[in-house]
């Protein structure tokens, strides 16, 4: 579970500060995909950045974990936040952001080798899950290829597998379909939804394309850094 509580984030802008996120409260439950939509510049990526501990909010809390065992990620030191990302958060970027020198398989293996005194058992566990995830995203056959040998959709699928290979509790996805055609985009959205449900991940997904709204369990619309009205029209999935 991830819960953003009353988050405010501002950026310096000349002498003033612009408010990118304005008192946002948002909850993503385990095994659900929570969509965040809104016009360009409304603050969607900023919300994800706060949730990902990539930037510390001016105020508010980022609770990650389950009932008895939650931590406020907004309060963590830089190195603790890095460790949190390494272990409990998965991120899928707008561009696939794969490393050009690594094969598809190695893109996943690297998650076990990010330093910071990762436990050996954890490394073994991640390595053991690599093949499973390559299979889950349907790319076992292409595991030996480098990013430049893969299509945009395949790259994004590898990025999703990378986001999940270390079994994070929270998956944060920023515009995963923006570089893809509609069909490929729909496949990616369905893949994220399926894996989210199978793995019980709490997924926050930014999209400004509502074509894929049916795969979302929940949808909030952000305008000028504020949530307008929770989208009640999204049909609840049965799972």
């Amino acid at each position: 579970m991830i819960e953003l509580q009353n988050i405010t984030l501002t950026f310096p802008d000349g002498d003033n500060r612009i408010t990118a996120v304005d008192h946002i409260t948002l909850r993503g439950g385990n095994g659900t995909v929570t969509g965040i939509t809104g016009p360009s510049g409304s603050g969607k990526s900023s919300i994800l950045a706060v949730a990902a501990t990539l930037i510390r909010p001016d105020s508010g809390g980022v609770l990650i974990g389950n009932d008895s065992d939650t931590i406020d990620a907004a309060q963590l030191s830089k190195s603790d936040a890095t460790a949190l990302r390494r272990e409990r958060i998965g991120i899928v970027f707008q561009q696939s952001n794969l490393l050009p020198a690594l094969t598809a398989r190695e893109q996943l293996q690297v998650m076990a080798r990010l330093g910071g005194g990762t436990k050996r058992t954890r490394k073994a566990k991640i390595d053991a899950r690599v093949e499973e995830l390559l299979d889950a995203v349907g790319l076992t056959e292409h595991a030996g290829k480098r990013p430049h040998q893969l299509s945009g959709g395949q790259r994004q699928r590898i990025a999703i597998a990378r986001g999940l290979v270390h079994e994070p509790e929270v998956l944060l996805v920023d515009e995963p379909t923006s570089a893809l055609d509609q069909e490929r985009g729909a496949e990616i959205m369905q893949l994220i939804a399926r894996l989210t449900r199978e793995r019980g991940t709490a997924t926050l997904l930014v999209t400004h394309d509502l074509v894929h709204r049916d795969v979302l369990d929940d949808l909030v619309t952000v305008i000028d850094g504020r949530i307008t009205a929770p989208d009640a029209a999204v049909p609840a999935h049965t799972h």
């Binding site: 990539l54 890095t82 949190l84 990302r85 390494r86 952001n97 020198a101 998650m111 330093g115 490394k123």
Partner: protein, 376 residues
């Protein structure tokens, strides 16, 4: 996170770095080749410097003692070529407080030829006393003959003259029997021949010298600064006395300057390469940080990568130096020794790493926030 505190580290190092090396092998080969070439140049210059230095000073370095005493000429610095020390000076030093032993050494340059031939070569004549006290086995003093009509030759002299033990050679009109051929010793680019003090004295006067000792090799612990001026001499440590050898400073100085400049160039080139390379992958570094990579592991990877490139380049360069050096050694004064190969290699590696460390700023400064959004 508390649950991540267990250390194991090592196994994860360089996962990405190695693969980048392979992936961008063209670029890394290029910079490796540059490092190899600079190493080759530095190695060559070092070997040449070492070789020239050995030809200049190897015999002087064998002079025993804590200090070498030279005549202090009035208007210029002390010089092996002009120094002449009479008996009074010798006695003054022998009687000085704290002086344990004084060995008078004569050095003169002349020409020699194998008897019966006219092929004269330049040689350095050493006049050494038979009973020099306190000297153990010493390649120079081991050549000292017992009789005035005998000489000991350094191997270079024997080779150049084409003579062996038992042959005779002529020096300044006198014939001498070769009784010994020893190690390769040189003085001021001429091979060494050792004679008795009397024979040397005579030879010295024949080539325009005074026939008196050139330098005193002194052991003991005296007030060197005080005794010197009173006797018109200066006492130098064996190493600092080398500057009293003509051409030594200028030879070694200009070659040394070239070596130092090559060191600087290699640090700059390696630094520039890794700065550009690191800037090129700044995006990847931001992504890795966003995924949870520690800055420490990224820094380690970057330095490790640089170290691999440097080690490979330097090794290839060193191999070339060793190979070409032994060839060059037949035509040039060239020394292949740890001092002329490994020492410059270590300096290259250290300076290269310093250059690479310069690029680390882009690693530590990379902001994982930039991985998010579309601004890559």
């Amino acid at each position: 996170m508390a649950r991540a505190k267990c250390a194991s580290g090592k196994a994860f190092i360089m996962f990405v770095a190695w693969r980048e090396l392979r992936f961008a092998r063209g670029r890394f080969l290029l910079i490796g080749a540059v490092v190899a070439l600079i190493t080759l140049l530095v190695g060559f210059l070092s070997g040449l410097t070492g070789g020239l230095a050995a030809q200049n000073i190897s015999s002087v370095l064998q002079l025993p003692g804590d200090r070498l005493v030279l005549q202090q000429s009035e208007d210029s610095d002390a010089s092996f070529a002009t120094s002449s020390l009479d008996d009074d000076t010798l006695q003054a030093w022998e009687q000085a407080d704290g002086v344990e032993s004084v060995t008078p050494v004569g050095i003169a340059q002349s020409r020699a030829a194998a008897s019966g031939t006219d092929d004269r070569i330049g040689v350095a004549l050493y006049g050494l006393p038979q009973d020099a006290s306190g000297i153990g086995s010493n390649p120079l003093f081991d050549l000292t003959p017992t009789h005035d009509g005998e000489v000991g030759l350094s191997s270079g002299a024997a080779e150049d003259l084409g003579v062996a033990v038992g042959d005779t050679i002529s020096i300044t009109g006198n014939d001498f029997t070769v009784t010994m051929v020893g190690e390769d010793l040189w003085y001021s680019h001429t091979p060494v021949i050792v004679m008795t003090p009397d024979a040397w004295s005579e030879a010295s006067t024949r080539v325009g010298g005074t026939g008196e000792a050139t330098v005193l090799a002194i052991t003991g612990d005296a007030d060197w600064e005080a005794i010197g001026p009173g006797t018109g001499t200066v006492a130098e440590t064996p190493l600092s006395s080398l500057t009293a050898l003509e051409a030594f400073q200028s030879e070694i100085g200009s070659l040394g300057l070239m070596i130092v400049m090559l060191f600087g160039i290699s640090a700059l080139v390696v630094g520039a390469f890794f700065t550009v390379w690191t800037m090129q992958r700044a995006g990847d570094i931001a992504v890795l940080k966003a995924l949870g990579a520690t800055t420490g592991s990224l820094v380690r990877d970057s330095l490790g990568q640089a170290l691999i490139v440097l080690t490979a380049g330097i090794s290839v360069g060193l191999a070339a130096v060793a190979g070409l050096g032994s060839l060059a050694g037949q035509a040039l004064p060239f020394v292949v020794s740890p001092l002329t190969t490994l020492a410059p290699a270590v300096v290259m590696a250290v300076l290269g790493l310093a250059g690479a460390a310069f690029a680390l700023r882009s690693v530590t400064k990379a902001d994982p926030l930039t991985a998010l959004g579309s601004n890559r």
